[in-house]
Amino acid sequence: MTYIYNKNVETMIRAGKVIPSGVYGHLGPAEGCMIPSSAFPFFAAKGQGAEFWDVDGNRFIDFMCAYGPNILGYNDPDVDAAAQAQAKLGNCMTLPAPVTVDFAEYLTQLVKKDWAFFCKNGGDVTSFAIMISRYYTGRKKIIFLKGYYHGVAPWTQHPDTPGTIEEDCKNGLYIPFNDIEALKEVIARNKDKIACLIATPYMHGNFTDNELPKEGYWQEVRKICTENGIILIFDDIRCGFRMDMHGSDTYFGIEADLITFCKALANGYNVSALCGKAFLKGAASTVPYTGSYWLSAVPFAAGLACLQKLEKLNAVAHFEKMGTRLITGLQKAAKARNIPLIASGHPAMFYLRIDDELKNFRLHQEWIAECVKRGVFLTNHHNHFICYAMTPEIIDEAIGICTEAMDVLVRNNPDKFDKIK
């Protein structure tokens, strides 16, 4: 039996009347690449641990983890208790609560930086990092590594993006990831004009095998940036606290000047952080930047509890172990069926892709749809996430469901599998 989504569709029809796109952004059917949309739920009724239930009551093992924020498990009792305790004291008040300082102290010690500045979303802190870099250096240009994602602010976009104008993109310099020569060339062509280089710790673009840095890549980038007065910004919004509790710059053996955190910071409570080295603290104090809810106390209490628990549990080791268990199980099942299933990226944030002759993702999308219709929520375009609530039993259950979906795929496409064997 596969799932039916009557109430999901009813809710989407209501949503479409009052909300642009029904569900906009990455959680929606279009940007979320729900292919075909009929295979996917649209609205979650509740979540618990590593699972959520949609409005039709269908249960899903969730490997998207809300696209990252679910790191301990939905409704983690310790994080929720800390948040509720702070809520009783006060949340959004005229003055910040002392937990703001507690959180900043803990976070800066953890990620080996000198200061922390809090906002709400990832795009808030990547934008602030750019502003600080420009103010500090007096330069305009930004180096991006192709395939990047740093939010949707106009400076991150291209001139053809609706709502963006050409002038917003004038100062972008675009080079390939893992290419030191390209970096040297772009710096030589733009001597003393480059404020910063912003990058994710490794390349996890959509619809592509995720690419880890070559040996010594980040060390060389760090050296070149220092020599040329370029601020090195690590966008750790996606990877942060999944590979290393001390930040992904530490994981790869370097020290970024600025580092951004968001998704896993507070297990779903809304807070993001920009952390930096001492020499940029004055700039961070000077650049005007604030928001109505940025100093709300509840997310800070949640974030503090979340980070403390992740550290205490050595969660990153669990993520790697569970990710590896899942990938190994899926690839074993795929191999037995002659399905060329490719896994890439760090096991805590794995990307999957069934290879095919035309490179058109149809077989992969069909398999993902069959998985979702049976209760394992995966996507075809984006890396996945492991959370602490994923036990070996849950992983094994997911492997079983995904294997059944592989059998359906093979049954439905005997001719295609002959071709790619």
Partner: protein
């Protein structure tokens, strides 16, 4: 809006849709049969293309191999050519083809003018006497849109950002059971062919004529159709993402 891009759209997307107009409308095919002729529009700093009428079929394509033309119609600028298309100007044919040109397009009742006027009337319809008329308008608009994507992608300064990001390969664009076209990125250019894709890397399929008409006429939005499942998108979605960015710019040229 760039006059040069508009000239490419006018020749290859607007006039180019004659190819399908004569296939879909029997009366149009009869008119096209009146004369076998090759017309060349040579636009300074713009397109240099041929319109071939042969046995009732029409083909519009760039002049890349010194193909012979019965009539050469020089246009001093893209703006001038656009005025020609709008009926506000008339190019002076080169001497050898002047008589043929006058016969072919010298008067409102000349075959070329009757065909383009007829097609324009079909494309501009917003109300339909029956489902068949709606289908013809929708399918022709669809073909003009696909050809427009290629021309705008290759020529509009902003759209070219998206076109350059497209990976090589074919994109299938279709109205289910009614119309098929292929966009192909190759050698740094985007090409449109009004045939079913054989090696698609991405798919955009309007579920039916009503959905296609609603989207093309701007009465419904694509995101809602994706949610409802009436617009199917699949495959390498980054290809479609970039095509959509070009498509956003197409309407200002295809008024």
């Amino acid at each position: 809006m760039s006059a040069r891009t508009k000239a490419f759209v006018n020749l290859y997307a607007a006039i180019g849709t004659l190819e399908k107009y004569v296939e879909l409308v029997p009366e149009a095919k009869e008119i096209a049969k009146q004369q076998n002729i090759v017309v060349r529009f040579k636009v300074n700093d713009g397109p240099d293309g041929l319109i071939e009428f042969k046995d009732g079929n029409v083909r519009v394509f760039p002049r890349e191999n010194n193909e012979r033309a019965d009539i050469v119609l020089p246009c001093k600028s893209p703006e001038f050519f656009n005025n020609v298309v709008d009926g506000k100007a008339m190019p002076i044919p080169t001497l050898p083809g002047i008589l043929k040109a006058l016969k072919f397009m010298g008067k409102p009742t000349s075959p070329f003018n009757v065909l383009t006027a007829g097609m324009t009337e079909v494309l501009r319809r917003t109300e339909f006497a029956n489902e068949e008329k709606k289908k013809v308008t929708t399918v022709l608009s669809f073909y003009a849109m696909v050809k427009g994507i290629a021309q705008v992608g290759n020529n509009d300064r902003i759209a070219r950002f998206a076109m350059k990001r497209l990976e090589d390969g074919e994109i299938s664009v279709a109205i289910r059971d009614a119309a098929y076209a292929t966009l192909t990125k190759k050698d740094g250019q985007l090409f449109a062919t009004l045939e079913k894709s054989t090696k698609p890397r991405a798919f955009m399929t309007f579920g039916d004529i009503d959905t296609a008409w609603g989207l093309i006429s701007g009465q419904i939005d694509a995101m809602s159709c994706i949610s409802a499942g009436t617009l199917e998108t699949a495959g390498q979605m980054l290809l479609l993402d970039n095509v959509n960015k070009i498509l956003n710019i197409v309407p200002k040229y295809l008024q």
